[in-house]
Symmetry: C2
Subunit: 411 residues, 2 copies
């Protein structure tokens, strides 16, 4: 590390974000981040895929975008189109699929396409923090859509759109995660999907459908077709390989008709997505997707059960869990008198990291007693220990929960 | 492809770039783009590397950034640090190395760190188009630094900085490609490197050193140490794996002290660079870099000779070639009466694509008779045929060259 020999303070441009801290390893009980289970990475399958795809097409690496254009490796786009048809009711040619360097890139691209500073964007009242941050960064004003156990409450949304219209406000788009909502892990039923699209068309509001978790469904649970399948003309569809396979790969995808796609492509801005990631995943998933997902979803469901049992054991009736239909996280409500923000520091001191509700909600007002716990990465043992440790911190700070396990705390 | 069912024209935000065209395959004589030779991709070496690195560390793919922080896979950062020490005189710990999703990302990050709209940036008078586009997009005003066969002319730069200072202008940074300059392929001598740094310190101007081509030197040619090696406190250093290995990978790197690095990291914005690309390249290059580069540089030098011979044969004394010391491109000056922009369309009609000088220069005024031809991707046969076809187009449009090969044109 060398000291600067210039006065850089005169050189930095305005509006810099906070500097990065030195990176530190994760704490012991790390219940945040969209990480996956390290034991479920199909290592031998990826090695076999690398060998076959590189022997067949490896020489193309010498050319930007493999010499095949900015929408990504056609083999992966074909896999996405096939998967979307088999599992999500979406029927598109690969020209309507673009591979992304992670789904966050798609959120940025769609934001740039649609948002002027000051524009209104509708998001679910409890919502993926990464999306809200990106929308806000580009200047969007966020309004929350009311949720229940089945996702967006349509009557409330209809009233909200009418009220906005009366105020002269047309939202640019509705951002929704209809299939395994983040953080509630609900699935929007078919009738609500049709009603949502009808509202979007009535008010000329685009729908931005984020299906990053849609591959992660518990056995026996079926999701209705994607919104994109029901009306491709008003929906832009986003997906990811971070949850179905591995977040370190940085692979996502957009599905959109050409009229919007041709405007989204110039906003990608990275001269293509890493080719080895694309090629190896395409080769592996083209042969093994259904088997991989069946196995992974069984493992994840099992970890969720472990976490729910631990929360029930340690928090008792003090914690209300939303019932996930898939995914990698559990959304929990504690009694209203608990402000989870006061737990962040003492939890960190005990080696625990969790997502505080206000970071995962449009309004801190109705989310200060909520939290999100991710269960895919930690082992079952760490889940059990970590939830117990968290209950202890919570009790010490707030007197809640009064019971943990078989122990009544001396409050 | 589905028609939109909304009126999207009401929804797009202001200032959209031009929509993308449908992608079309390359023309026959494709002399643009930083592509490499498809026959030199070390396919079996990459397959072997994939197997060993995935068996050793593949489970880490389940975690964002492999669970190792936002600066990238440590194995690749270690390789970069080792290579920089052995070949560029740079001695840094891996904390001063960050892996990028292509060097263009680094150009964006450094621009965001330093440029307010209206700020002045100094670039070489003939300069990489991608960098100029990115600087201009963020609002920089570009001023060209005079070049000769050895790169930046220091006396001219000293006068330019003094003149700017007299006008009250402090440039934010000097963007330079000192080792295999793009497009002239020159190498800045050591004494000019020291003089450049002295000027930067005198005027408090940062140096942004782009060494994307520095691994591509002809046998027997030695480059002086990197500017970063001479004064790490005033230089931010950029490198790439696109030229040494493969552009489809999207891998570059930044070297900087922590004071700037901690401000650059929040500007990366992509949640990490593709992990398979990073891991496989680290594993392969840690064992085979010098051998790979020695072979590749021999092949490239041979292709350059083929191109220079073809240009001499087809254009005779009408073409002056700058003499490359490495790299993948040839910078050519035609007689002043040839405006190469008038050749773009007829060349395209003949299946030829080239870089017109004005796209590779700060000022169209002194570059309209220049052009850049890339030689790494096309075969020698295509190089010979394509240069002949281009000479024919040029003659048909401008009457120049009067001789091609053994043929005197009936002008």
């Amino acid at each position: 590390m060398s000291a600067t020999t210039l006065d850089y303070s005169q050189l930095y441009s305005d509006g810099q974000p906070d500097p990065a801290p030195r990176w530190a390893p994760f704490p012991k009980y790390y219940f945040v981040g969209g990480n996956n289970d390290p034991e479920q990475i199909p290592i031998e399958g990826l090695i076999e895929a690398a060998g076959s795809v590189l022997r067949r097409e490896g020489s193309k690496l010498a050319i930007y975008n493999l010499g095949l254009g900015p929408q990504g490796y056609p083999g992966l786009r074909q896999f996405v189109a096939d998967k979307a048809r088999r599992h999500r009711g979406i029927d598109v040619p690969i020209d309507d699929v673009t591979i992304l360097s992670g789904s966050g890139q798609g959120i940025d691209m769609i934001s740039k396409l649609l948002v002027n500073p000051g524009d209104t964007v509708l998001v679910e009242e409890f919502c993926y923090q990464g999306a809200m941050n990106r929308f806000r960064k580009i200047g969007a004003k966020l309004e929350g859509m009311k949720l229940d156990a089945d996702g967006i409450v349509i009557d409330a949304l209809a009233e909200q759109l009418a009220t906005l219209k009366a105020r002269g406000v047309t939202p640019k788009f509705i951002y929704t995660i209809p299939t395994i909502q983040n953080p509630t892990a609900s699935i929007l039923p078919l009738d609500r999907r049709h009603a949502l699209i009808a509202l979007a068309r009535e008010y000329n509001v685009a729908i931005f459908e984020d299906e990053c978790y849609a591959d992660l469904l518990w056995e026996g649970i079926e999701a209705p077709p994607a919104l994109y399948a029901l009306d491709p003309g008003c929906v832009i569809h986003l997906g990811s390989f971070s949850k179905s396979l591995a977040p370190a790969l940085r692979l996502g995808y957009l599905i959109s008709g050409w009229e919007n796609m041709r405007r989204l492509l110039p906003l990608k801005g990275d001269s293509g997505t890493g080719a080895l990631d694309q090629m190896i995943v395409a080769e592996y998933f083209s042969k093994h997707f259904d088997k991989h997902m069946g196995h992974l979803n069984g493992v994840l469901h099992d970890k969720l059960k472990t976490m729910v049992e631990a929360v029930e054991r340690e928090f008792g009736s003090a914690a209300e869990c939303w019932a996930p239909k898939g995914g990698i996280f559990l959304w929990i409500k504690l009694p209203a008198e608990v402000d989870v923000r006061t737990l962040i520091k003492p939890a960190a001191d005990a080696g625990i990291q969790f997502n505080a509700g206000p970071d995962w909600a449009v309004s801190p007002a109705n989310s200060s007693s909520h939290l999100r716990l991710c269960f895919a990465m930690p082992s079952k043992e760490v889940i059990r220990e970590g939830v117990a440790a968290f209950a202890k911190v919570c009790f010490e700070q707030t007197g809640i929960p009064k019971h943990s396990g078989n122990v009544r705390h001396a409050g």
